[in-house]
């Protein structure tokens, strides 16, 4: 027993890394497609998205970098898709320099899928959505947007004057925006810019999305009603995608189709397996610790 105890006590971390790597690869090759149930947070979010009516303008803020994309992109995908379903007008921007470029990639994929699902609808840049790019300055940008959006954002991401686009015709200031959807990968986003300034100072409803690791700090704002909705990590993003119904029946399940793809399922499975492995290692660590404690007492 002593040898086993010693082995686990001095377990090389590379063995743990190897277990994680093998589990990830095996799950990706052979996914389990575990059932994803729609939680309260995802249901609330769908209601928030459905409160947006035709021709109402919203901001979707991409305040994250490539590192946060695996968790936040599915959220952005679901939000944009639902907004296009609702025939809302979408202004995309970012307080992170990489955000608007990531927004471009995401919206391209959403439009491709959307136009396949709705062949009679065409999503047009400048009419249905626009990318006004990145702006440095954090909360002061919000203060300036409260007076004149077109003064602080004079051109779109590619340098074209934003006044030339139809979508901006009826938009002068922040109060013309129905709601803000802020997807945040850390500081400089939802918590320190959109919530205290757009929501608190100017009264614009804000719904958020964040990575799992930063989620605990956002629940207090949900509870107080300052956040209209919260997608707290990849799991709720997958739930949101499942909750968005498409206008046709899934040929495999014979049920109404949704946005939850096999790829998203695979990632959810990988997350499940990695959580399990971490838990198993924690249990092993604790059994070793408790056994050692008992053994040393006996001696």
């Amino acid at each position: 027993m002593g040898k086993v105890l010693e082995f686990f006590k001095t377990l090389d971390r590379r063995i743990i890394f190897l277990f994680i790597a093998i589990a990830v690869v095996i799950t990706l090759i052979n996914p389990m497609y575990l059932e994803i149930n729609i939680s309260k947070n995802a249901r609330t979010y769908i209601k928030v998205l459905d409160s947006i009516n035709e021709n109402e303008t919203v901001i979707v803020s991409f305040d994250y970098a490539a590192s946060g994309e695996p968790e936040l992109k599915p959220m952005a995908y679901g939000i944009l898709y639902r907004l296009f379903q609702r025939k809302a007008k979408v202004i995309m921007m970012g307080f992170w320099d990489q955000g608007p470029s990531l927004a471009d990639n995401t919206v391209k994929q959403v439009i491709e899928r959307f136009e396949k699902d709705y062949p009679d609808r065409k999503i047009v840049y400048g009419k249905d959505y626009i990318n006004i790019g990145y702006k440095a300055g954090g909360f002061t940008v919000i203060i300036n947007m409260s007076k004149a959006i077109k003064e602080i954002f004079t051109a779109d991401k590619d340098g074209a004057p934003i006044s030339d686009f139809e979508i901006m015709n009826k938009i002068d200031k922040l109060s013309d925006i129905k709601m803000v959807f802020a997807l945040t990968g850390g500081n400089n986003g939802l918590l320190d810019i959109w919530l205290p300034f757009a929501r608190q100072q100017y009264g614009i409803p804000v719904a958020g999305g964040c990575t799992s690791v930063s989620a605990p700090q956002f629940y207090q704002y949900m509870n107080s009603g300052q956040l209209s909705g919260l997608l707290d990590g990849f799991k709720t993003a997958a739930e949101l995608l499942k909750a968005i119904e498409l206008p046709y029946t899934d040929p495999e399940t014979k049920k109404p189709a949704n946005l939850l793809t096999k790829e998203v399922h695979k990632i959810a499975d990988v997350q499940s397996i990695v959580h399990l492995i971490i838990m198993i290692f924690i249990i092993i660590g604790n059994v070793t610790y408790l056994y050692e404690k008992k053994y040393s007492k006996q001696q």
Binding site: R13, F17, K40, S146, N223, H275, M279, N286, Y289
Partner: protein, 223 residues
């Protein structure tokens, strides 16, 4: 002395007081209008701060290269990457409207190169760095997460429930995990998190007041 200390302190005092009063003043009032102007200045300063950051990064790394520091190869890679990306980014960004609108091919060249760097270098590298967290968290949890006391045991049990409730496999084992996990996060965690936030906010307010009133001067450099 006046330029190095008194003047910055005076600017800080007036801007700080002005920002606080402006924040709480009604829209349309003179002070609120100037407060919004001050916000515009802040945006400009933030843009210049970025330039300052880039300049400082180049300076620090250049010094390391000239002094034959053991990390000089990484410093050189950093400077080269910065300059190459910035060149493609700036030229691809300003070219269409500022230089020669009649030459779309050149614009596309710079834009495509910048997009290429972002898509095939920046994104995979950042994603890889973030993904490594899973490995390090697993290793750290194995070594540090021990039920050494009653409180640590409660923390451990709570962590297990939340970990299971946050992934589909948890609800496959027992559907109740999701509900309990949600309750822990939105009730127990929320209370603690709110207490920490309020405490930190009071602390930050005190620290800001010290800076505005000139009691804290370390941001000016020196002692």
């Amino acid at each position: 002395m006046f330029l190095r200390k008194t003047l910055p302190l005076l600017i800080c005092f007036f801007c700080g007081v002005f920002a606080i009063v402006g924040f709480f003043s009604a829209e349309g009032t003179a002070i609120n209008t100037y407060y919004e102007k001050l916000a515009k200045w802040n945006s400009i300063i933030a843009a210049f701060a970025m330039l300052l950051g880039v300049g400082n990064l180049i300076r620090v790394n250049f010094i390391k290269i000239t002094r034959n520091h053991h990390d000089k190869i990484y410093c050189a890679i950093l400077i080269a990457s910065l300059l190459i990306t910035a060149t493609f980014g700036i030229l691809g960004g300003v070219y269409p409207t500022k230089i020669d609108p009649a030459n779309p091919q050149l614009m596309d060249f710079f834009k495509n190169k910048c997009a290429y760097i972002f898509e095939y270098m920046m994104k995979p590298m950042q994603s890889t760095m973030f993904s490594l967290l899973a490995f390090f968290v697993a290793s750290a949890a194995f070594r540090a997460f021990r039920a050494k006391s009653f409180e640590a045991t409660i923390l451990l049990v709570t962590a297990f429930i939340v970990m299971l409730g946050r992934v589909p496999i948890g609800t496959s084992i027992w559907p109740g995990f999701a509900g309990i996990s949600e309750w822990i996060l939105s009730t127990v965690n929320m209370a603690g998190s709110r207490a920490i936030t309020l405490g930190a906010a009071v602390g930050a307010t005190a620290a800001c007041l010290k800076i505005i009133l000139g009691l804290e001067t370390r941001y000016l450099g020196g002692e």
